[in-house]
Symmetry: C2
Subunit: 156 residues, 2 copies
DNA sequence: GACCAACATTGGTCCGGCCAACATTGGATG
DNA sequence: CATCCAATGTTGGCCGGACCAATGTTGGTC
């Protein structure tokens, strides 16, 4: 794929018609971003992954929510929300209790330990941002991000 | 993951600490790029995918090669090269014949039909580039690509 | 009371990147 | 020459992320 590409590929020999195309470059940027994130989470996040970070972030920002709300808010599939929450519940980062008014619904809240974990993850993720953008000047970083936003937000 | 994200997610509600991070934006750009490519290939590539395109491009540019060479040159795993070539051989886009000097080795060549297919795929892929970069001005496109190169090529 | 929609959960699918094992073959080294 | 090792092509599988389907339950509606 011009998008799905190897994580460890040396670009020394990539066909010209491939390696100069924006879609290819985008895929390589993404690969680098993913690799940095994976390494950082692996090293410091104690088993937590991006799913968990996004769920904690959503809970912190929007307060208690049902799992369905979390799914809609984060774009994570309902079933994956279930799994992620179960893992975090076991670590005491999150609490699930049935909604008294709608028995079928769970109300999910972030715990104090959850907030602390979120802050730790913030640091980890911030470090990756710095590493990723290291090759760019501060001015370039702003431009790069802004252009990325433009490209990404174009409604398909 | 801050990188692995849903393909169909509406960014209307994404936690702030997530949605403003470069890694997140990168992942969304990649998602858009992937979606455009997938749609274009699905619609016009008659079953061929990125793997095939990259293999054809390599063969066209560097001439006949062994499968191991193709793997090294394109970064595609040996086993996936085998699979991709088998599919293309069935369509007559590529020919495999044993190397007379090294019996264990296959010499792979692109056929005339393969070159034609490659040109068709070129057009498809070009269309995606235009679509992807549509939100940017020509000057911005150059900058965006150049910055992407810088970020991607940073040796991990 | 019957029907339908929402919810949480289980248990998958699919696809791309990757790895392991294998039989074969060639080259290198003793 | 015999032995060992490296390279090659192939098969088969693993893993992780996104996604989907079916289920049991519950609530609201008509």
């Amino acid at each position: 794929m011009l998008s799905g590409m190897p994580m460890r590929h040396q670009p020394d020999r990539t066909p010209d018609r491939v390696k100069d195309r924006p879609t290819w470059i985008v895929s390589r940027v993404f690969a680098r971003s993913s690799a940095l994130l994976a390494a950082a989470f692996e090293a410091h996040a104690d088993g937590l992954r991006g799913y968990h970070y996004r769920l904690l972030a959503a809970l912190e920002q929007w307060g208690a929510a049902s799992q369905a709300d979390l799914s809609r808010g984060t774009g994570i599939d309902r079933s994956d929300v279930t799994g992620g929450l179960t893992e975090m519940e076991g670590r005491g980062l999150v609490e699930r209790r049935p909604d008294p008014e709608h028995k079928r619904r769970n109300i999910v809240t972030i715990t104090e330990a959850g907030r602390e974990a979120l802050l730790r993850l913030d640091d980890i993720v911030d470090g990756v941002q710095a590493e990723l953008l290291a090759p760019l000047s501060p001015a370039q970083r702003k431009q790069f991000i802004e252009m990325g936003r433009l490209v990404a937000d174009r409604r398909a």
